[in-house]
């Protein structure tokens, strides 16, 4: 069997399995080969699940067709932030090295129940803190379009693996843009669902009120299909709601009568000219498809980054307190008493960005500072939600570039956290408001992918994938990363 790996979307894999043009074992083998050929360059995988994946594939292949579930046998890879039973789950942190969770995240359980085959665990910024995947304690991941450049983050491993066709699709998580920004930088589709659509049970928490699991795929249809598999209310997550109804595969080809608001505040000086150009072209495409494009102002979103870098670290400082060396994960051999065991374990186990955010979070929650920082940030969050609500009274979608720039070079921003934080300018307010949003490839600047960011009202996922599908069809982007498979 010979397949063009770039043509193998999740939906296509399902078709091949259904028509018996490919076996599950063949599909798994395609990706294991591809990993062997390119992952030494890309560095997307932290762990490959080769043996178990092949075994599961063989069992599926032995089943009569009528006993197979629709997605059974389709491979997938997942960000290493999701708990996988008995499979090492590190969150790309030294403090969880060797940690094998005793349970599956609900999203993982849903994948398994649907019969998908987990190829492995994907790299990320440690505890999802970062925008370049350079904060992984284990390895950097490189952008398949230019190996000197970052894939974005924190779901950089997921975006790079999909872009390099090392998996048909992947799950990532998005706290402030961690699905959409790497999707934009790697030229793939990234969908961040409405807060609550996918259960967070088993998602190793960074910022509980912002975290959401979502798909990174090469097609909009795949994003819809994968979200439909993992979404749903979960009794194990009080904040989960599921979607309001099942998500259909999108078929739209035009945008007649749809109203798109361009968020003025997201087109300021921070946006690179090349990105702006692609975005302006995308607006013309929307109009060509019958959509109405107008500028709209959401004044409070400019304060999104400031509010986010108080709320997210505050929650993180508390969420990461459990990594104390007592019950699981890394424990330092140093230390003579309890306090020094804690101090050594956490000093040695966490990387610098994680420590920075724990310190910021601890500070903003401290007695005497709470109101000035955390209280103020929460009020800002409310204003941002109100701005979005007002805008959605007039528009079906709000749009912007996903990322202010194309992929930057490794090391370029590591010394400047504020420049790094600005990568998420356009994506962060969406998490603060709990809205669904999608990034889809809209063109190239300097030969690197540029993503278009569409935001819709709460539970507007169907409308979101419908519009994205119409645009995807019109954009007809054919370019592929120039990766050469290297064989030993």
């Amino acid at each position: 069997m010979s397949h063009d790996v770039y043509e193998l979307s999740g939906v296509r894999c399902r078709e091949l399995l259904e028509s018996r043009e490919a076996s599950a074992t063949e599909l798994v083998q395609v990706y294991l080969d591809r990993m062997r050929g390119v992952d030494a360059q890309v560095g997307a995988y932290l762990l490959t699940n080769e043996e178990a994946a092949l075994q599961q594939a063989a069992e599926i292949d032995a089943k009569p067709a009528e006993e197979r579930r629709p997605w059974e046998g389709v491979p997938i890879a997942v960000k290493d932030i999701l708990a996988t039973k008995d499979m090492e789950t590190t969150c790309a942190s030294r403090i969880l090295s060797g940690y094998r969770p005793p349970y599956d995240a609900t999203a993982i359980r849903r994948l398994k129940e649907a019969g998908l085959i987990i190829l492995g665990k994907l790299n990320m910024d440690e505890f999802a803190m970062g925008s370049s995947t350079e904060n992984s304690a284990y390895q950097p991941t490189r952008n398949p379009w230019d190996l000197e450049r970052v894939p974005g983050g924190s779901s950089g491993g997921s975006a790079a693996a999909v872009a390099a066709a090392e998996t048909p699709w992947a799950l990532g998580t998005d706290t402030g843009g961690s699905i959409r920004q790497p999707a934009s930088l790697c030229g793939v589709v990234g969908l961040k669902p409405t807060y609550g659509a996918v259960s967070r049970y088993g998602l190793i928490a960074f910022a509980s009120s912002l975290d959401q699991i979502g798909p990174l795929t090469r097609t909009v249809s795949d994003a819809a299909a994968l979200l439909q598999i993992v979404q749903g209310q979960d009794p194990l997550d009080s904040t989960s709601t599921g979607l309001r109804g099942p998500l259909r595969l999108p078929t739209e080809r035009d945008l007649a009568g749809r109203r798109f608001g361009v968020i003025k505040e997201f087109l300021g000086e921070a946006i690179d000219s090349g990105v702006r150009e692609v975005f302006n072209d995308a607006c013309k495409t929307i109009e060509a498809l019958g959509g109405v494009v107008e500028e709209v102002s959401l004044p409070s979103v400019e304060r999104g980054i400031a509010a986010y870098y108080i709320i997210a670290p505050a929650e993180a400082s508390s969420n990461l307190a459990r990594f104390d060396g007592v019950r699981y994960g890394y424990r330092s051999g140093e230390g003579e008493d309890l306090l020094s065991m804690y101090t050594h374990t956490r000093s040695e186990g966490f990387g610098p960005e994680v420590k920075r955010r724990i310190m910021i979070g601890t500070y903003v929650l401290s007695a005497g500072y709470y109101e000035a920082y955390y209280g103020q940030a929460q009020r800002t969050r409310t204003l941002i939600i109100q701005d979005f609500n007002r805008a959605f009274a007039d528009y079906d979608y709000l749009i912007s570039p996903t990322s202010p720039s194309v992929a930057f070079k490794l090391g370029e921003r590591t010394a400047d956290p504020l420049a790094m934080y600005l990568s998420d300018l356009c994506t962060i307010p969406v998490n603060l408001a709990g809205l669904p949003a999608i990034s889809l490839p809209a063109g190239f600047s300097q030969g690197l992918p540029v993503g278009l960011h569409l935001i819709s009202p709460h539970f507007g996922e169907q409308a979101l994938v419908d519009a994205a599908h119409a645009l995807e069809h019109r954009f007809q982007l054919e370019a592929r990363p120039a990766l050469t498979e290297v064989r030993e």
Partner: protein, 490 residues
């Protein structure tokens, strides 16, 4: 010297209590592990109560119901909208590095409990707040001589208790003496026992009490308070408070100010040790728990919980007086413990209530105290005690003999009828049989008979004694009396 009654050389003690009550739910506060006591360590745990990465809490609805009933029984206002907060601190028994608790929006506020004091007066203690939280695990300090953390070789953590639902009850500083504190806690315990939502057992830790203690001259502003911990019995609560009040007074007498601190009562020495200065106290960095949604308690829910409240001790006391014609004192004692009150009512269900009250408060309670048993652990079932009282009432045995039968019941758990039968203890009320015995005794003691007939009626006692001796105490005393009189007077 503290006299336990709040007046010490012109000073008065000001005490507020913080009480933790473990709820008797089937499962833990935020996961589905069973709530148990005394199981093998770390056998009632799951990823959630062990704080594994990615796990999330889900609120136990039954715990919210139970907590609401406690708040209602204490006349608190129930918050229509209540949320959980995280209380952040590091300790090995706290798996997540924070405790899920409540902060500025507790479940209930502004209640009170009217406490009956020893002298019969009533003292109202305000309830500041009632809130819900989760319990921590338990540290076991191994090695070393004391079993305490100091000197231990290493420590182990048992997370079975971790995540057990707790209700924290905070009182206003309305308590003025160790005796009042003890009465308050006793009556709070009894109230919760009546609600049936907790075992409220101090020794097992399902009822725990800390105290905030300060002293002042009456009318002056509040003095500097200390937080007194580790009083795990009613006796230690009173002794700990007295020791701490005395310590503060001696500081003041020595011209030193009382320092804010956490203090620890050591029951083995009766002394107080100062644990840590409050200046370096934790900043718990409370913030709203983002993993849980707010709890909205509508009027229908609150009214449903109110309707679920059983008869509470004060009402029960009134009913006992009314229904069983008991004295206020007896009714107070019996309503003062749910289990004792229940036991009494089962004994008194058929028969003489006054007699039942005397027995339950007398021999039965003495037996429990002597054996160190709880009412539930008694070998004498209430139906058996009722049967015993029936045997007295119908004249089968005398009240005096009944005490021996009761002792045998307590010993063997056997039914009184069987004991009476097996030991041949039934009263002889057979007139013919007794007449023969009496006739024999009168005949064998002619001089005593003559003496009686010549007017010395006191000799009667001698004959009764002889009859009892002959019948091993089984003769029906009234019948024996009348038969002797008949025989002598002819």
């Amino acid at each position: 010297m503290s006299d336990g009654h709040g007046t010490n050389g012109g000073y008065e003690a000001v005490i507020g209590l913080e009480i933790h009550v473990q709820l008797k739910t089937n499962t833990k506060m935020f996961c589905s592990c069973a709530v148990t006591f005394g199981e093998e360590p770390n056998t009632r745990v799951c990823p959630i109560c062990l704080g594994h990465p990615g796990s999330l809490p889900v609120t136990n609805e039954r715990a919210v119901e139970y907590a609401t009933r406690i708040a209602l029984a204490l006349d608190c206002a129930i918050a229509p909208h209540t949320i959980f907060h995280r209380k952040n601190y590091f300790y090995p028994d706290l798996p997540k590095g924070y405790q899920i608790s409540q902060y500025d929006l507790p479940l209930g506020v502004g209640g009170h409990l009217d406490v009956e004091l020893e002298d019969g007066s009533t003292h109202r203690v305000g309830i500041t707040r009632v809130h819900m939280e989760e319990d921590a695990g338990k540290l076991v300090h191994a090695g070393g001589a004391t079993g305490r953390i100091h000197g231990a070789d290493y420590s182990l953590v048992d997370f079975n208790r971790g995540g057990t639902p707790l209700v924290e009850i905070v009182t206003e500083p309305d308590i003025r003496s160790s005796e009042q504190a003890r009465s308050f806690l006793n009556q709070l315990k009894n109230l919760i026992e009546h609600l049936g939502v907790s075992d409220v057992n101090m020794e097992e830790g399902s009822l725990r009490c800390d105290a905030n203690v300060s002293v002042r001259r009456p009318g002056e502003p509040l003095g500097t308070k200390t937080e007194l911990k580790n009083m795990n019995s009613f006796r230690f609560l009173a002794r700990g408070l007295e020791a701490e009040i005395e310590r503060q007074l001696s500081d003041l007498e020595a011209g030193e100010a009382v320092r804010q601190a956490t203090v620890h009562f050591d029951p083995s020495t009766g002394s107080i040790s100062v644990l840590r200065s409050k200046e370096e106290a934790h900043d718990y960095r409370y913030f709203p728990e983002p993993d849980l949604v707010p709890i909205v308690l509508d009027q229908a829910f609150i009214e449903k919980q109110r309707a679920e409240l059983p008869e509470l001790p004060a009402a029960r006391k009134e009913r006992l007086i009314e229904q069983y014609a008991l004295s206020a004192y007896d009714a107070g004692v019996l309503a003062g413990s749910r289990s004792l009150g229940d036991y009494f009512e089962r004994v008194a269900a058929e028969g003489d209530a006054k007699l039942a009250a005397n027995w339950v408060m007398g021999d039965f309670s003495a037996y429990l105290n002597a054996q160190g048993l709880a009412v539930e652990e008694s070998r004498v079932a209430p139906e058996d005690l009722a049967e015993l009282l029936e045997l007295i009432a119908d004249g089968t045995i005398s009240g005096k003999l009944a005490k021996d039968v009761f002792a045998a019941m307590a010993e063997s758990g056997q039914k009184p009828g069987r004991i009476v039968e097996e030991r041949g203890l039934g009263q002889i009320s057979d007139e013919t049989a007794l007449e023969a015995i009496v006739a024999g005794i009168v005949e064998a003691n002619p001089s005593a008979a003559t003496e009686y007939r010549s007017g010395n009626k006191k000799v009667m006692g001698f004959f009764v004694g002889q009859v009892m001796k002959e019948t091993k105490g089984r003769a029906n005393p009234q019948l024996a009396n009348s038969l002797i009189r008949k025989a002598l007077e002819g």
